[in-house]
């Protein structure tokens, strides 16, 4: 990998100071995202997936703050930019899609007004060109009679249609990266697949990289090139999607895969990982997964494992380190 990655996150830490001490929501994560690549980020609720996304786009809500590490966009640091400079990157170079399309659009403005304002904010075009572009975008995301619907208000659209509008809005200034935070979770199951496929198609056509945050492994398996599995604010395993699914290295990923029902499955019961993810204020010493791990060793209680290369993937587990050392 000699080429500069589109997005490079280096040892990122995010903290929330509270009355009972500082909570480490993200504790030193690093990953790269190439141009046009789709990176899936999975994990349980509270694993830090969404926080990672909001930290990258610079929208952490105070008191949350980036406590360390770097975020680089095409080799340039963006985590320490001024509000004003960061605003110009948001929407223009990094777009974001939120979970709930029903509440993501301002109810008092027509979708045309919202798209055109966004285009005019970022691109040097006239109002007429912006309008034409808005119509083209809406057609692209599959909204029928786009020119007429420009004057419609959000409440006049269904949930799935609104998420299409949201995708058009996130993409209207041609960003290089889109962070999609659970883009289908709030939608009807029947619509979810459509929206994911649409997102995939539109981003491929525009050459946009996607950071797809979800807890749905099925969605990841279908769309992502690579996947990062997060646990307790750290990356447990990261690698090409088929490796992680077919040959998971980290015991947590193994557990996750065992919990996915499969059509051709031969077992009657799904395996489940005992226990729950630790709260942020009581993360155990050593490996955060140690209370739930079936392969736990003494070392896991003492020292925290770092990501080690294991085949094409990288996993943070002492067991994996041991195996790799023995092998190599």
């Amino acid at each position: 990998m000699t080429q500069t990655p589109l997005l490079s996150v280096r040892d990122l830490r995010v903290e929330f100071p509270t009355r009972r001490g500082i909570l480490k929501a993200i504790d030193g994560i690093s990953f790269d995202l190439k141009e046009g690549e789709v990176l899936g980020v999975v994990g349980e609720s509270g694993a830090g997936k969404s926080i990672t996304g909001t930290a990258v786009i610079g929208l952490l809500e105070p008191p949350g703050r980036i406590a360390g590490g770097e975020v680089l966009l095409k080799g340039e640091r963006i985590d320490n930019l001024s509000q004003q400079a960061m605003r110009k990157i948001r929407g223009k170079r990094i777009g974001m899609i939120f979970q709930d399309p029903l509440t993501s659009l301002n109810p008092l403005f027509t979708i045309g007004e919202q798209i055109i304002e966004t285009i005019l904010t970022h691109l040097p075009v006239s109002e007429r060109e912006a309008r034409e572009r808005a119509v083209a975008l809406l057609e692209e995301v599959g909204i029928p009679a786009a020119a007429d619907r420009l004057n419609a208000y959000p409440h006049q659209f269904s949930g799935g249609m609104r998420q299409r509008v949201v995708i058009a809005l996130a993409l209207c200034a041609e960003p290089e990266l889109v962070i999609a935070d659970e883009p289908t979770t709030a939608l009807d199951v029947s619509v979810q697949a459509q929206i994911i496929r649409l997102l995939q198609r539109v981003c491929r056509d525009h050459g946009t990289a996607v950071m797809l945050i979800t807890h749905d492994m099925g969605v990841i398996a279908e769309t992502a090139d690579r996947v990062a599995v997060m646990y307790s604010g750290r990356i447990a395993e990261i690698g090409p999607v088929r490796n992680v699914i077919k040959a998971p290295r980290h015991p947590y990923t193994v557990g996750l895969m065992g919990a996915i029902p499969s059509l051709t499955g031969d077992h009657d019961r799904l395996t489940q990982i005992p226990g729950t993810m630790p709260r942020l204020d009581s993360i155990p010493q050593g490996c955060a997964f140690n209370p739930r791990c079936s392969l736990v060793m003494d070392k896991c209680y003492r020292e925290r494992p770092d990501l080690v290369t294991a085949g094409e993937s990288r996993a943070a587990c002492w067991k994996v380190s041991e195996t790799e050392e023995a092998a190599g």
């Binding site: 929208l59 709930d100 509440t103 659009l105 301002n106 996130a170």
Partner: protein
């Protein structure tokens, strides 16, 4: 939209009829009107003649009908104390009250909304805390006290502004305005601040709490994520979403400003309807009281009608959406 307007108009007429009934009852049954008009030495025959002439011997419904027909033509009879038509008396004083109310409402909105937006956006800044403390004073101090305080400070001590009256006025037809002369404008300052201070703090606190709620919503987060300009997010996307409750409260408050101008008008000896009303209460001048009641009710009804129509302008979800999927 049209059906809605017509429905609201019919409701408004109903409200006015009920108020007219109360007003009429006041007029007819609080003491004998004849007693109020004649001297002690009037003979019973003369009284009876007056009764007949005023139509007080007719059936109640006939009298009520006559009252409404006359009220619709702004004819509320003759004032007992001034011996002049009530409509003329009120007409002469209406401009003073309306101008005062209008200026204080504008003051309340122009100062209250920006202060509310600011305190909503910068919750922890020193200026926000100062604004909130001031608003606490505005809400808790009684109007007459604020008026007296302002007179003491700006009229007595500093001698910058007049302490009473309207200053010079210019007549435009039957309307007299103080907005076109320097002394008229100067005279407006203290009374409108006194009258509008409570409303201003109310609007500020309302806008603040609405802003606090709106800036947490997903659509504001999404607007930020799209890199829209901060000014546009605050004053277009967020502020517009706070307006529906603000319009409701402002509408009601404009009504109260006009109705409760009484106190401010008394403190500043403002020659408006409130002062007239107070004098009429002291002298049991029932025709003026009845007319004032009708007029205030009418203004409230009109303002509410305007507020209802404004909802439609602001919130597209209330408009009939035939285009819905």
């Amino acid at each position: 939209m049209l059906a809605f307007s017509i429905r609201r108009l019919l409701q408004a007429i109903l409200v006015m009829l009920v108020v007219a009934l109360i007003s009429f009852t006041l007029f007819r049954f609080v003491g004998d009107p004849v007693n109020q008009m004649v001297g002690v030495d009037t003979t019973p025959e003369q009284r009876e003649a007056l009764r007949e002439r005023l139509g007080l011997n007719d059936p109640i419904m006939t009298q009520f009908g006559r009252f409404i027909v006359k009220a619709a033509q702004f004819d509320f009879g003759t004032s007992y104390q001034f011996r002049q038509p009530v409509a003329d008396l009120i007409g002469k004083r209406l401009p003073a009250t309306l101008e005062l109310s209008l200026v204080s409402a504008i003051f309340a909105l122009l100062v209250g909304i920006p202060m509310g937006v600011y305190t909503g956006l910068h919750r922890d800044s020193v200026l926000s805390k100062l604004f909130l403390s001031i608003s606490l004073i505005g809400i808790s101090l009684p109007t007459f006290f604020i008026g007296i305080l302002l007179i003491f400070l700006f009229s007595v001590t500093l001698q910058w502004l007049p302490s009473f009256g309207r200053g010079d006025t210019v007549a435009i037809g039957w309307w007299t305005t103080g907005l076109l002369t320097v002394s008229g404008l100067k005279a407006l300052v203290l009374p409108s601040i006194t009258l509008g201070l409570f409303q201003m703090t109310l609007i500020m606190r309302l806008v603040r709490s609405e802003m606090l709620e709106v800036i947490r919503t997903d659509y504001i987060k999404f607007a930020r994520a799209r890199g829209l300009r901060q000014r546009s997010i605050n004053f277009r996307h967020a502020l517009k979403n706070t307006l529906v409750p603000v319009i409701t409260i402002t509408g009601l408050q404009v009504g109260s400003i006009i109705a409760f101008a009484i106190i401010t008008e008394t403190v500043f000896q403002w020659p408006g309807m409130g002062l007239l009303f107070l004098q009429s209460v002291q002298n049991v001048d029932i025709p003026i009281m009845a007319a004032y009641l009708m007029l205030i009710a009418f203004l409230f009804v009109v303002i509410n009608l305007i507020v209802d129509l404004l909802y439609f302008v602001v919130d597209p979800r209330l408009r009939a959406d035939r285009a819905a999927l």
